[in-house]
């Protein structure tokens, strides 16, 4: 279900330095009682953006997202840990987040993100610190060149899994690729079943 990602995009950088922001923070479980992927954007970080009485919390820095319609998220260490809910990625994308950058992204979250065309980038701490100084400013991410460009012209290269990059650039789809392998899958299953008979 890969969605085509952008090849180059300039967007403001939102800094959420808090470590271990788990998927329950990204989208609280009570919003998961849906059978659709759409409609989750308004509930992104809901309990961080709103108090238990529903009043907005002005200190939660998602404003650039509301203003520009899209943004990159510079997140704290171990972002996306916890529940496997892909709803977290759907909510981020629907709200306009196009890339998530961190020193560490949790495994299941990172896979879910890339599979949906949400660019997931891990960088060493020094480069994350460098980026943090650009919080609120516009940075450019170039997926073809695998680099970020900061407002002062500095370039930060990033690594990305070549398979995910290929899928994102082409809009190629893991499920389609797997379906092409059905004969090979069948052969493997027959062999294993014979072994266990």
């Amino acid at each position: 279900m890969s969605r085509k990602a952008f090849t180059r995009l300039a967007a403001p950088l939102i800094h959420l330095p808090e470590p271990d922001l788990d998927t329950d923070q990204i989208i609280p479980a009570r919003f998961l009682t849906t059978t659709r992927r759409e409609g989750l954007g308004p509930f992104l970080f809901y309990d961080r953006r709103y108090g238990t009485d529903g009043t907005p919390r002005p200190d939660f820095p998602l404003r650039p997202l509301e203003r520009h319609g899209c943004a990159f998220l510079l997140a704290g260490h171990n972002f996306g840990c916890g529940s496997s809910r892909e709803h977290a990625v759907w909510a981020l994308l629907e709200a306009g987040v196009r890339a998530v950058i961190s020193t560490r992204l949790a495994d299941i979250f990172r896979g879910n993100a890339l599979r949906n065309g949400l660019l997931a980038i891990e960088l060493p701490p020094a480069q994350v610190l460098r980026l943090a100084r650009c919080a609120g400013q516009e940075v450019l991410i170039d997926l073809l060149e695998r680099e970020m460009r900061l407002p002062d012209g500095e370039r930060i290269p990033f690594a990305i899994d070549p398979f995910a990059r290929y899928a994102m650039l082409r809009g190629a789809d893991e499920l389609d690729l797997l379906l092409e392998l059905i004969p090979e899958i069948e052969r493997h299953e027959r062999e294993r079943e014979a072994e266990h008979a």
């Binding site: 998961l32 849906t34 809910r85 690729l177």
Partner: protein, 469 residues
């Protein structure tokens, strides 16, 4: 050969090795499905005109958003709202359309995915098991390679019974010594997460080995593997042994007679070779572990009952204290509590309920405390009732509920109100996990039960001392 257990399972399931930058293709033996993370996957199949390829390798149940109060006079489950009901109905419809077995209402076998597959004997050593749920690591207790997946991957497994997978790294954690009497696998899991951090296992399959693991019951092993994801590890593994085989034997879906003997002979091979190489190795003395209770908003923020809580070094812990209404420097013991939740895929099995009942027998929970006891499955519920455990919970003033995830995830109406403290035997103490503003304190069933009686955080021994005084 010098292969790890993980490597052996991986190789047996690799349909195709990684090639040209593409990850390996991994074959999946068992796919567990529930109502919350599957509807979008079935919709994707419908959009593409695809059918479920191996429905006989797929098992569905209703657990996350299902009510834990009994059905009404017409037999209808009292869903929290229409969205929850619609989600359950969607799964019922999808399973019927695709010929998938659903252990739903009235099946007598419904329950939390990670409780029902093992108790049916479906979870077996050497298998690959996936589910759209991060606590799929639980099944690793049987020596199965099991991990949680997203809904897009749920669609892939439904349609092809395979996944693209980059091979994770391997991490062996040797657990030396023995757990002290009264100390549970939950305490051990919390101690490990405390030591190695919420990302200590990220990117790795963890194999737990050592004397302490061998001594654990299957239920305890499941508790330990269940919590591996809270250390960032998507999968945990414990090599199968006589404890494992004994637990599987005679279960409804386990191989029988000759076939069981053959399976056991095969399962015996599922050990890491003595010279096996791991990407990382760690060691931990299980004999030093005492009761652990979480005090913060991630599972690594946990402490012994009498340890002064640590001073915050960063904003994260400060925020956690504020959220939890706790202060650094003070110990957790005697902290007043409002709710107790005994259940979940971590601690909702028969052995867990027995632990809690042992503490609660002949006692009453403190005035003002509300205690929910939620069995992990209908089977667990029946077994507990045969032993009379439910009478102990009810006599203590607790609520004995229908099975489901309940207050672990608070999707079904079982919610902890804002600002209230809940001692919970579940696995996540994230902000809002048990309801907006709810304050979760993760603990073992014994500590949860003792705290229910005292009305504040305590352990079973302190309760005894008090009774004797």
């Amino acid at each position: 050969m010098r292969l790890s257990l993980f490597e052996k399972i991986w190789r047996a399931h690799q349909v195709r090795p990684p090639a040209l930058g593409a990850p390996a293709v991994l074959s999946i033996d068992l796919h567990l499905v529930h109502e919350v993370t599957s509807p979008q996957a079935f919709a994707e199949l419908a959009r593409r005109g695809l059918k479920v390829r191996r429905p006989e390798r797929t098992l569905a149940t209703l657990d996350h958003a299902t009510p834990t109060s009994p059905a009404d006079a017409q037999g209808r489950p009292p869903f929290a709202d229409e969205a929850c009901r619609a989600q359950a109905e969607k799964l019922i419809e999808n399973c019927a359309d695709h010929g998938i077995e659903l252990l739903g209402f009235g099946s007598g076998r419904r329950g939390i995915v990670h409780v029902i597959a093992p108790e049916l004997g479906l979870t077996q050593p050497g298998m690959t098991i996936v589910c759209g749920d991060s606590h799929t690591s639980t099944h690793g207790a049987f020596g199965a390679l099991a991990f949680g997946i997203g809904s897009s991957e749920v669609a892939q497994v439904l349609a092809t019974q395979c996944l693209f997978r980059h091979k994770p790294k391997s991490l062996r954690i040797e657990l030396r010594g023995r757990l002290r009497p009264g100390i549970s696998a939950k305490d051990l899991a919390l101690a490990l997460i405390h030591r190695f951090g919420t990302d200590g296992g990220t990117g790795h399959v963890v194999e737990f080995s050592g004397e302490a693991v061998r001594a654990l019951s299957m239920e305890a092993r499941m508790t330990l593997c269940n919590m591996a994801i809270e250390m960032g590890a998507p999968s945990a593994l414990i090599a199968p042994d006589e404890t494992t085989f004994g637990w599987i034997e005679g279960r409804p879906r386990a191989p029988k007679g000759e076939a069981f003997a053959r399976a056991c002979a095969r399962w015996q091979q599922l050990q890491s070779d003595p010279e096996a190489v791991f990407d990382r190795e760690l060691s931990f003395d299980a004999g030093t572990v005492g009761h652990r209770i979480s005090f913060g908003t991630d599972p690594a923020q946990n402490a012994g009952l009498d340890e002064p809580l640590p001073q915050p070094e960063g904003g994260k812990l400060r925020r956690a204290y504020e959220y939890m209404g706790l202060e650094p420097g003070k110990p957790l013991r005697d902290t007043p509590i409002d709710y107790v939740f005994i259940g979940s895929c971590t601690n909702g099995r028969l052995e867990d309920l027995r632990e809690a009942a042992k503490v609660l027998a002949g006692r009453r929970i403190a005035p003002g405390v509300r205690m929910l006891v939620v069995p992990g499955s209908e089977q667990v519920k029946r077994a507990a009732e045969e032993e009379g455990l439910h009478r102990i919970f009810l006599a203590a003033g607790g609520e004995w509920r229908e099975p489901g995830c309940s207050m672990c995830i608070a999707m079904n109406g079982d919610v902890v109100p804002p600002g209230k403290r809940c001692v919970s035997t579940s696995n996540r103490n994230f902000e809002g996990r048990q309801g907006p503003g709810a304050r979760t304190l993760l603990a073992s069933p014994a500590v949860a039960a003792a705290s229910a009686v005292a009305g504040c955080l305590t352990d079973p021994i302190a309760l005894q001392v008090e009774a004797a005084a």
